[in-house]
């Protein structure tokens, strides 16, 4: 069963009504990994450089397939882009971003690679800044635990890193 999501006026029920009654242009994005479809205003969708190029090249008339991005990540991305298109107050946007990015490492990772793939600079900058802030002030062991990374350093690298960390702990 195909899922159809309308990101926009909740009173509208069908695609035809959207096309007839609105003077805005709408696009349908379909995540090919899990077949979720998203109807979204073009002005919001073109925050993605990839989609913007497709629209400008005239390839965006029907459903736009989006590989490598999962449905839930796409939903979050559209929510972000919509807010950033509608709102211009920097303070409001900052508060929104802080709340929006209050996610676990797995969700942040999906958001980050998707924003990178779709070339949404504003979102990518926000996510990488958030990750950098998560890392600061943590030891390498704590970083590994949070991000579920295995230590694959060689014996020589381990000794070198122990010396470096021994030195940084000196005050």
């Amino acid at each position: 069963m195909k899922k159809l999501k309308f990101i926009g006026n909740p009173l509208l029920q069908s695609r035809e009504k959207i096309n007839m009654s609105s003077d805005k242009k709408w696009l349908t994005l379909k995540t090919t990994e899990d077949n979720e479809e998203f109807v979204v205003e073009e002005s919001v969708a073109i925050m993605s450089n990839v989609i913007k190029n497709m629209v400008e090249d005239g390839c965006a008339s029907s459903v736009i397939p989006v590989p490598r991005v999962k449905g839930n990540a796409m939903g979050k991305i559209i929510e972000f882009c919509k807010k950033h298109t509608e709102e211009s107050d920097e303070k409001v946007l900052k508060e929104f971003d802080a709340e929006f990015l209050n996610l676990g490492p797995d969700a942040l990772y999906d958001l980050m690679v998707s924003a990178n793939f779709l070339e949404i600079k504003v979102l990518l900058d926000s996510v990488t800044t958030k990750v950098a802030d998560m890392i600061k002030g943590k030891s390498s062991e704590e970083i590994r635990n949070i991000l579920k990374i295995e230590n694959d350093l060689s014996a020589e690298e381990i000794e070198e890193s122990r010396r470096e960390n021994c030195w940084t702990r000196q005050e």
Binding site: L124, A132, I135, G137, S140, E150, L153, A155, E164, Q170
Partner: protein
Amino acid sequence: MSLKFLVREWRELRDAIRRKNRGKGKHWRNRARSHIAPDLAPSEPIEQGKWADMPPELLLDIIQRVEESEKSWPARNAVVACASVCKSWRDVTKEIVRTPEECGRLTFPISLKQPGPRDAPIQCFIRRDRASSTFCLYGSLAPSEDGNDKLLLAAKKIRKPTSTEFVISLVADNFSRSSNTYIGRLRSNFMGTKFKIYDNQSSDDAAALSKSKSGRRLHSIACNYHTATISYELNTIPFSSIQEGGTAPTPMSLPNSVARTSSFLVSERKAQLARDCSSLKFPSESLVLKNKSPRWHEQLQCWCLNFKGRVTVASVKNFQLVAAVDPSDNVSEAEQERVILQFGKIGKDIFTMDYSYPISAFQAFAICLSSFDTKPACE
């Protein structure tokens, strides 16, 4: 009794003591070896999480943000932590972090052996603890109120029958030469006229200094200027490093206990006692530093050196070093005047040390330590 005879006697005494200690030293070194159980390095390929295998441009972006925002200590620990997470993170972090010459910041221990920046000095201070005969170098302008200063290097002074030695380490609580925090040592001869640095770096990077001294030392603020010569030859830094387009040796990694080369003497230079610098002969390939000549201050009616506010207490220990250059050498006047190392007192047992290209923090610290070695031959 002639001076030659005395020197020979002292040398024989020194060699005899060395032979005696060699047997003891090996045993002691083995006993002093660290017993911290090493982290086990993986023998089989590890299945990595996605954060270790993320697209390299994203990893670069994240670590770059950490590096650019955490410029000073202790926040800069974050960069070192990133380099210890896993292999991919270590590779990217090492790629991002630039040398002190390029960015004016110290990040990893190897930064201490890399030349300082060309445009402005790295400003540090040294605290002396007379009770324990230790000297600590900190990477701050001056002692902070909360005492939260970044320790860069520590040295312990050890008096021996015919020499004095300063063992230099990355940490203040371990001066064992078998530890991987051992960085090098400075040794003086009995007369206190010659100093040598023993560096645990490889033969391409090791530095040795010799100091020849004559006449009286210069005061920093109101000085009695005589034909005094205090000069240092750094025979692993080429003279060309201060010429236009020149570069100084920049080691990229410290040796570890797995691949350590033993310390050694690069070359021994006989002390040349002379009244003034012009008569001293050094090979033109090596960089020679000499103390900067003070200028006559007409209003104050004294000879002055401008320490730019970084030295506030008059002391015989205060000095500025510039490159010793012949008029025929291709070195600009600005470069000739540029202070490469400045050292001076700001309080009881507190001294500032500002160093810049082409010497490293380690070399600068060693030169400053040599001024703490008071001997009968010195004032």
